[in-house]
Amino acid sequence: MLSVQNVSKAFGGIKAVDGGSLEVKKGTVTGLIGPNGSGKTTLFNIITGFYPPDSGEILFNNQPIQKLLPSQICHRGIGRTFQITRLFWKMTVLENMIVPVRHTGWRTLFSQGVKKIEEEHAMELLDMVGLTKFRDDEAQKMSFGQQKLLEFAAILMSDPELILLDEPAGGVNPVMIEKIMTLVDDLNRQGKTFLVVEHNMRLVMELCQHIVVLDHGQKIAEGEPAAIQNNPLVLEAYLGSEHHAGA
């Protein structure tokens, strides 16, 4: 479904991603892990069109997308969340849900902002994440965990085929992490494909069928969770060579 091939991105003299490659198969949950600064979020930003890659190719459903705008990539069927939750803070919860509706063409552009059918769909999704009672509240008035859930629910409004989650469990309490895990698992069973950047190893190991590990912008390992857990290169990247040798 998604194929990232030898993608590189440098900021000045710093190579954030250095020939990074990964494959995401349809219907899977793929984990993208690595120590801080390994280029995970940069790779997310490249895939979603926020940064143009210096070199390499990105194919989504066999079509190159590396030269498209973020909005065009969204229309192709890739949705994403952000490492630091980003919402339209002064808009209501319902409006936050409605904005991401995929619409093209001039007629829809000037059509009613909130349509009944969209509102109903938004309410179903809000119900799924337990936020229906907040529908008319401003997004900024919700708790951090609720904001994470809202961001997650909102991207489902555009019905993306592939969902990129950037640290969904970051700064979230254990109850909320369980909720997020259940949601991802349920949606995956319904056919949604996920690429997840996460530091919470329990979430990664339990949810992901395939894991890609980055370090210094390069892929150092990939495979099933059990194999990754015992991979010496991964342990070295996370713990350093001395710790690894000691262990």
């Binding site: 994403r80 803070w89 000037f110």
Partner: protein
């Protein structure tokens, strides 16, 4: 439900009737003049609000479109005899075309850079008007015949009445389009851009397209108003019509009434313009009205940073919530 809708909008019908009847019961030409200028200020600020309020892009360069509309109408009137009341609606489409091109260039910048670029637009147009003297008559400006219909000029007693009504039509149209935009997906997208442009792009909004379109819409009504204005005064020159202060006033009015709201710019105009005229009438043509405006804005920024209308609305909503909570308990 229907009754409540009628009740909520009753003030609008009353205001419209008052404005329709105004020239009939107010025969004083000075007050008629003030009302025309007030409605024009409301048009300019409401129009600016489509870009500056909904999308959050502060343009100080809308005077460029105001002046361009004025020049196009004056030229078409003098050279081809096109009546400004008719031609201004069509010639403003050219203004919109220019705005779309300028928007496509300038909207690559954000924040203070965008403000500076838009100010530069006014100076560029002013320089063009000054130097293309074969077309614009340069610094001497353009004079139009006394307003009238056909070869018959309107009498001094009647002359302001047609301007009152055409400005009222323009105001209604501007507010209607602004309302329609606010209710549409386009309007929702503009507000999303104001809130977080990167996020808006990520969720599928073609932010550049939305911003450029908003720029075009907001320039159109400013261009129409510029055309009517040039006919109203029958004389324009580059210094007079391409004035950065015109753009600044649009912003100040919107800030006072409530930027990003439908009625805020209208409310702001109906406060600022009559007040400015009253101060000038009382204290002469000094700059004291600017000092008073500065003081008012300072007060609004300190105590009502969202503007008058959103602050009042919030107070009413909070009181209603408190009352509802009391009833429940």
């Amino acid at each position: 439900m229907k009754q409540s809708l009628i009740f909520r909008n009753a003030w609008l019908f009353v205001a419209l009737i008052v404005l329709l009847a105004y020239p009939q019961f107010q025969k004083n030409q000075y007050y008629q003049h003030v009302m025309i200028m007030t409605m024009m200020a409301a048009v300019l600020s409401s129009s600016w609000n489509i870009l500056g309020g909904y999308a959050g892009y502060t343009s100080l360069g809308h005077a460029a479109f105001f002046g361009l509309g004025g020049y196009l109408v004056a030229l078409a009137h003098n050279r081809y005899g096109w009546h400004p009341f008719v031609s201004t609606w069509f010639l403003a489409i050219i203004v919109t075309g220019v705005a779309l091109i300028l928007g496509w260039i300038s909207l690559r910048t954000q924040g203070s850079a965008f403000v500076v670029v838009t100010i530069a637009m006014v100076f560029i147009f002013r320089l063009l008007a000054l130097n293309l003297s074969g077309i614009t008559n340069g610094a001497r400006g353009l004079t139009q015949p006394r307003p009238g219909w056909g070869d018959v000029p309107w009498s001094p007693e009647f002359i302001k009445v047609p301007f009152h009504y055409i400005m009222l039509v323009l105001l209604c149209l501007t507010v209607f389009v602004s309302w329609r935009i606010r209710q549409s997906k386009f309007g929702l997208g503009l507000i999303a851009i104001r809130e977080d442009e990167g996020k808006a792009e990520a969720v599928g909004i073609n932010t550049m397209l939305y911003k450029v379109l908003a720029f075009g819409f907001s320039a159109y009504f400013v261009g129409v108003a510029g055309g009517i204005y040039s006919y109203f005064f029958t004389y324009i020159d580059p210094q007079f019509i391409f004035d950065v202060f015109t753009g600044v006033t649009m912003v100040l009015i919107a800030l006072l009434g409530g930027r990003g709201t439908l009625w805020g710019p209208v409310l702001g105009a109906f406060i600022m313009e009559p007040l400015g005229n009253w101060i000038i009438g009382e204290f002469g043509g000094t700059q004291i009205h600017l000092t008073v405006f500065g003081g008012i804005l300072l007060g609004v920024m300190l105590f009502m940073p969202q503007g008058i209308l959103p602050t009042i609305t919030n107070v009413i909503q909070q009181r209603a919530k408190a009352r509802a909570a009391q009833v429940q308990s």
